[in-house]
């Protein structure tokens, strides 16, 4: 089975969105779209499901909140209780500001760390489509040339209909 990729380059945002929608309708496998900025509506065109990262953020924030609540209670009321102005050992309302800060810290730092790991970003990584100016002003639609439906000339005609300025074949990206 061939795992060659068909890369088409577009100059306009609307063209790449419409080409992606059309390619998906034709049942072609969309490997990815490369763009210099986040295009709104392209996630629907590519059929990407909503991200589950908010759940990660929620769980990490919850973890931070629960941990620091227990720790503050333990440090203030169990490990070494100190009488501060006659306040109760477990002065929960006074613990709220720190609980909030630690929730935000865990949620924020954890979400970004998770994103970098999950998206596979790491220093020194090669960027596969850089030469096509996709971080400047071009957009690249990458299709996989597999499946019974893949008819190279028909696909090229479809891409040309949306003003693809360049179509080329490339090896698979890692």
């Amino acid at each position: 089975m061939s795992s060659r990729l068909l890369v088409s380059v577009f100059e306009r945002e609307d063209d790449v969105v419409q080409a992606t929608t059309a390619a998906r309708k034709e049942g072609l496998e969309i490997v990815d779209v490369y763009a210099p900025y986040a295009i709104h509506g392209l996630d629907r065109a590519m059929g990407l499901p909503p991200s589950r990262i908010p759940w990660v953020c929620f769980l990490l924030g919850l973890f931070g909140a629960v941990t620091i609540t227990i720790f503050q209670f333990w440090a203030s009321a169990v490990s070494w209780p100190i009488n501060v102005g006659g306040k109760p050992w477990n002065s929960l309302p006074a613990f709220v500001p720190v609980i909030f800060e630690v929730t935000v810290l865990c949620g924020g730092v954890g979400t970004v760390a998770f994103f970098i790991w999950y998206a596979g970003l790491k220093p020194g990584l090669e960027s596969p489509m850089s030469d096509l100016r996709v971080t400047d002003d071009r957009f690249a639609l990458v299709l996989r040339q597999t499946g019974a439906k893949f008819n190279r000339s028909a696909v090229e005609a479809l891409l040309k209909r949306f003003h693809a300025v360049r179509i080329e074949e490339r090896g698979d990206i890692a």
């Binding site: 945002e13 990815d32 779209v33 490369y34 763009a35 210099p36 900025y37 986040a38 295009i39 709104h40 392209l42 996630d43 590519m46 990407l48 991200s51 990262i53 908010p54 953020c57 720790f71 503050q72 440090a75 203030s76 490990s79 070494w80 100190i82 501060v84 102005g85 306040k87 002065s91 006074a94 613990f95 500001p97 720190v98 909030f100 800060e101 630690v102 935000v104 810290l105 924020g108 730092v109 979400t111 970004v112 994103f115 970098i116 999950y118 998206a119 970003l121 790491k122 220093p123 020194g124 990584l125 090669e126 960027s127 489509m129 850089s130 100016r133 996709v134 971080t135 400047d136 002003d137």
Partner: protein
Amino acid sequence: MAEAAVIAVPLIGGNKSAADVTRDVAGALDATPSPLWWGGLALSSAALLLGTIAIGYEFATGIGTWGLNRTVGWAFDITNFVFWIGIGHAGTLISAILFLLRQRWRTSVNRAAEAMTLFAVMCAALFPLIHMGRPWLFFWMAPYPNSRGSLWINFRSPLVWDFFAISTYFTISAIFWYVGLIPDLATIRDREPGTRRSKIFGFLSLGWSGSFRTWHRYEVVYLLLAALGTPLVLSVHTIVSMDFATGVVPGWHTTIFPPYFVAGAIFSGMAMVLTLMLVARKTMRLEHYITQRHVDAMCSLVILTSGLVGLAYGTEFFIAYYSGSPYEQFAFYNRATGPLAWGYYIMVVCNVLIPQLYWLGAIRRNLVIVFIISLFINLGMWFERFIIIVASLQRDFLPSAWSDYRPTSIEIATFVGTLGLFFTCFLLFCRFVPVIAIAEIKGVLRPAHGSHPAHDSYSGYSEDISPEHH
């Protein structure tokens, strides 16, 4: 100009294409720095050197080098701490709150405003650090198992809350800023392959490829950070205000402090954003990116927060009268007529009266005047903190304990040093980091999809787009 109101003026002037944006913003990093930049850097690094010497002397000698006494135990340093923290707040307002409110104009200023936040928080954190007296033991603020029993920190203390708030605020602001930078670092990496900058930016860009699968998650992460940053920024100045409000000193012990401090923080920060952006716009030729529309929007926020601050000043006086507490009444009588009354009137004039000039379109279109007014607000907000702290402490309950306060040359040199740190960092940032969020600007070059014109219309003036040309 009533007809102009219905026409959506583009956020970015000059009819720019995406490639133009890359060239303009990245190109600014290649240009030879202007004599103005070198002059600014020389001045600010001289100030930084002065501050470093002063801080070295304080570390070696102790905080007896300050003009504090038993009555006025907080003065110059805490004033500067609150002043700098407040300035930082506008950066987060622009980056997080205005993002959630879908204010698309923020894209032109958010990168620089977030950088300003980072530098301001760095300046702010220095003051409590020095005030500890033995700053090398600063880690005693963190709850870690120790050989003193484990003796834990007092979680009921607002000063501990402050430690958590400031460190969280700095960390979250830094990663928010970095996450926003990643796509732009990749843009610059790909623009000039092989150069030293390309290699450094390539390393920092984590192999960003522009993949939309990554963009899709990136947008979610950015939104989550904005959603976390919004309550965070409100909490930080709330907690700073609790450093005062939980004390029993008349003039501090009031429930109005959290909203009053948050409004004041955003007010002073917006003024500092205006100060910095008007200079950056001129020196870095960003006239098409920071337009009259951006200046108008920031001036509106200044007018709003100035009104809130003015309302708080009035409310404080009313509550002092209405409380029936002679100590509370005296604290405010002392503010307006006591030894620091001159500072009180500087504060009222700079914070409540002068910003009202921003109502006038003719004033807003004269950027030199906008700049000068922003400097007055910076001055007025510094005096606000000084008056709250020193005028309340100097004459409290017992007249026999009353005292005066005068800053020493060391305290003034330390403050000048933080101004030096702030402007040195900002000038270096302008030189080495893209000052405008390239990827975000490319996303707002055209009007938003499906947005109702009313949501994006701008009723101000525009030289290059007027009804006649359509």
